[in-house]
Subunit: 317 residues, 2 copies
């Protein structure tokens, strides 16, 4: 197929693998790109030197286009972007910051820019900033999450209404049926994080992947609503956060949360596999994922499930 | 079309109008049934005598099937059910309580029973209780809401996986495109509340409907998470609740919330049109609704939007 998204990124299928801290390195990104989607190296957990290594490795693993996801809240965002540009990366997904910050800078270097949003208002700002694509990510998504708590089902049609910029739906998508749902709602493409976390090529720790196989539909919850909202898997660390949130209010709550969070909790959990003390970020759809296949196998399944689902829909209701 | 849902309820289109307190009386329910969907009288805000009047009125307004939605947490649930049975009502949607409570009782009287759930676990309990259909309602939905915060996009496929009982998706659905999305995810039918609230036939106060035309995507929020989670429109009453939630924790929070909520807040807001002191329950999708047409016009639009959306989807991705 060809549509706005496949043409923009020069890929076969409008399926993008979301950038995930500690989870989406060169191996995962290259595998997704090799399978006809768009792989993204998640720079959010990498110092510029490590990012350089991952980009070089991805270039050795695939000749297909891949990109880098750069969360703009990190103080090294500029360095990361320059490092990627220098190595010839032409696709950037920016997030967690203003789309105005780097879009023009990147466009001036002939890069393609997509920005991640959680509301139609921010989507309009992305459009005004001149981005090439918008990722609209709903409340279901893992990791950092919008304060508006707009779900993918309500978000996508409303973003579609405010801008003609190519639209990528994210949050809660892990099957061909949900890709079909997202496209019915107006998306031109989809971004999947959690589904690609659960592949052999992701760098999530094996213990983490195995734990996730036991997920229940309510195993993730949005936490730290008063500081930085994030969707976490329910483990000891999350229980501790919950307990703090139940006991304190106001500035005392913020202080206690920040102290408890500390540093490297996400690395500890997701990369190093400390399933109790670590912070485990994952999307709500995890409970419907019961295997850890290869990326290629996931892609094949998504494509065939899309077709099968479409063929079974009634023509009228 | 015919499918499990149209055959079960003997209706033309698998579109159900959700029972809404103070909003869905005889006029709305009959209009939806006359338009080929299934109208539901929302008994949650009615004493048995008033319910009787609404059922009799609906019977005078339509010869098509309609039903009654009974929230089981009300102490008059048994009386309401008996009143409806006595008047010949054969379709019951029960909610806010155990599906075991009345399902067998109703089945013994040859009634059709659907129960509203917010999680796959509860859906399984519904199935075990012998219900004829399950309404799986996501986090997007207005009014009372599940503690699990599972969105429609992630909820529907997971309910589908645990039971073969005919499945009705609810929460965030207000267009033909979103009906298509829900059916792609595995639903056999859909239940729309907010879209039918915004019709000439609903009994929501005109001031309330007009206020809702100004909704933004973040105009509703889940509140009272610690007591009875409910999705409310942001007005003065909601701000007061928010302020209490920011100041107190534990049993003090519960007490303050209960005191502030008091009684009849929902009637005050939704039926009497006091937009500041009243409690305004509405779904997140409200911000995409910018008109107050007739039920017939809504139904036509839903059906044609479904067809148009389906025809525009790519056959493969």
């Amino acid at each position: 197929m060809t549509n706005k998204i496949t043409e923009l990124f020069k890929i076969e299928h409008p399926i993008i693998q979301g950038g995930m801290v500690w989870v989406s390195g060169a191996k995962l990104a290259a595998a997704v790109s090799n399978a006809g989607g768009l792989g993204l190296i998640g720079a959010g957990s990498m110092k510029p030197d490590l990012l350089r290594q991952h980009i070089l490795k991805a270039q050795s693993l695939t000749t297909k286009p891949f990109g880098v996801n750069v969360p703009l809240l990190y103080d090294k965002a500029q360095e990361q972007i320059d490092c990627a540009l220098e190595l010839g990366v032409k696709i950037f997904f920016t997030s967690a910051g203003s789309p105005k910050k780097f879009t023009q800078y990147l466009k001036d270097k002939n890069a393609i820019v997509a920005h991640v949003t959680s509301s139609p208002e921010l989507a309009l700002k992305c459009s005004d900033a001149g981005v090439d694509a918008i990722v609209a990510e709903g409340f279901e998504a893992g990791g950092h999450n919008g304060r508006e708590e707009i779900t993918t089902l309500t978000l996508i049609p409303q973003v579609k209404k405010v801008t003609k910029v190519p639209l990528i739906a994210a949050g809660g998508i892990a099957s061909g049926a949900s890709i079909l749902a997202a496209m019915a709602l107006g998306a031109d493409g989809v971004q999947l994080g959690t589904r690609f976390l659960m592949t052999t090529e992701s760098s999530a720790h094996d213990n983490f992947k195995k734990l996730l196989l036991t997920s229940l539909p309510h195993s993730t919850q949005i936490m730290m609503r008063k500081t930085v909202p994030v969707r976490l898997f329910a483990n000891t660390f999350a229980s501790e956060i919950k307990s703090i949130e139940e006991q304190f209010t106001g500035s005392e709550l913020t202080e206690k949360l920040n102290t408890h969070l500390g540093k490297y909790r996400a690395k500890m959990g997701m990369l190093d596999g400390d399933l109790e003390a670590g912070e485990l970020e994952v999307g709500q759809i995890i409970s419907s994922i019961k295997d850890i296949p290869s990326v290629e196998s996931v892609m094949k399944e998504l494509l065939s499930d899309y077709q099968k689902t479409l063929s079974q829909l009634p023509h009228t209701i």
